[in-house]
């Protein structure tokens, strides 16, 4: 790492601001995708990864310190914790660690691409963990809410059939990869020129 490792006030504020922006975008897209079961279960993670890729790139490139990804993932986990899915907080901390390891020796565009693509893959835990490990909790809550059976059926159908799971994983990875490519391009096209990096 080329510059000092100590976090300044500016880094903290930038990190928090961008992280909140990322979380708002992710949750907002999620809400919009709720309209359709197929879109919300199969495509929504990929779409949000696509849009958030550039923001993540800019955030890491701007701060250029270690632990940016880890803090971002932890905050994201905290938001999910507040929404009632406690098991996602440890999960997101786990997701942040490989990203940190990849970026440990210095931040290059290639490493960033790898770390974001990997994060996209692991982000699927949001939907897959409940069905694999915490199904009872989730199911009882869903039934108690008088949720229609077709929604639960669709959920089970998409996340247990191997074909669909593989499709979802590949789709999100592709979207994450594409998002990081767009991020690189946008940084070259706008942010480098504007002199903010």
């Amino acid at each position: 790492m080329e510059n000092a490792k100590k976090w300044s006030v500016k880094d903290v504020i930038t990190l928090v601001l961008m992280t909140v922006l990322l979380i708002v975008i992710q949750l907002g897209l999620n809400m919009v995708c709720m309209v359709n079961d197929f879109v919300s279960m199969v495509l929504s993670v990929g779409i949000s990864m696509l849009v958030c890729g550039p923001v993540y790139f800019l955030m890491v490139n701007r701060i250029r310190k270690r632990f940016v990804s880890l803090v971002y993932m932890t905050l994201l986990g905290l938001v999910f914790l507040m929404m009632g899915n406690w098991f996602l907080l440890p999960w997101f901390i786990v997701v942040g660690i490989p990203a940190e390891i990849i970026l440990w020796k210095g931040i290059t565009p290639n490493r960033l691409t790898v770390s974001w693509t990997l994060s996209s893959l692991l982000y699927n835990g949001v939907n897959l963990l409940p069905i694999w490990f915490f199904w009872d909790t989730y199911y009882s809550f869903a039934v108690a809410s008088g949720m229609e059976q077709s929604y639960i059926d669709a959920y089970v159908q998409y996340y247990t059939a191997p074909g669909w799971v593989i499709f979802i994983l590949i789709f999100t990875v592709l979207c994450g990869f594409l998002g990081s490519l767009i991020g690189r391009k946008l940084i070259q096209k706008h942010f480098k020129k504007a002199g903010v990096l």
């Binding site: 976090w7 300044s8 006030v9 500016k10 903290v12 504020i13 930038t14 990190l15 928090v16 601001l17 961008m18 909140v20 922006l21 708002v24 709720m34 309209v35 849009v51 550039p54 923001v55 800019l58 701007r62 929404m83 009632g84 869903a142 108690a144 809410s145 008088g146 949720m147 229609e148 929604y151 946008l186 706008h190 942010f191 504007a194 903010v196």
Partner: protein, 230 residues
Amino acid sequence: MRETALSVPVKVWATACAILGVSLTANTLLTCFLALLAFCQLVFEKRWRLCLTFGVFYLALVLLLYLIRFHSLRMVVFSEFYVLMFYNLMPVFLVAWDLITTPPGQLSAALSKIHTPTPVILGLLVVFRFFPTMKAELKGIRQSMKNRRLTGPVQVLRHPAVTCEYVLVPMLLRCLQIADQLSVSAIARGAQSPGVRGSYYARKLQLADFLWMGIWAIGTILFFIIGGIK
């Protein structure tokens, strides 16, 4: 004018009680009891407008839930799941909203009293200022896109990717600028100074504060006795 707002520790305590109550209860429908308690707190603090807006929202949720349960109403856009989720989380929303709309000065005073590290205080204050600022920024971007005739439905539908870029890039740039400005102003006000952080807004706990702490503790325990623990 007499100060009617409760102090920050009490609000944190209330939020903790509400979260505990909502997440551990066996009877989801009974959370209206906690919501009632939260509304009482708002009334006590004389936050009428907040009370009214949330009250109307809550009543609408209750009505929807009633219709879903007993008249098998089916929703088109909004899943039933979310109606119950919002209903269930309402007590938490109420007290948490009360907490985060505390004037920032009081919040940071309370936080520095318990020796929170400065980065955490700064981060929290930034989060609370985020939403109003972003709203204003988005409005500005929309206006400038309109000036260039980029908001028409035809334009947006024909070039969705470009439209995304037009929104995202200025917003990100502004975010970076705001972060810079904020940090400059924070440092200028001594955010990095090593001494003990004092505050104009620190205040002692009063009788009403202790009273409300007790009310929340007893209320939560009662709630568990009536509703049962999961």
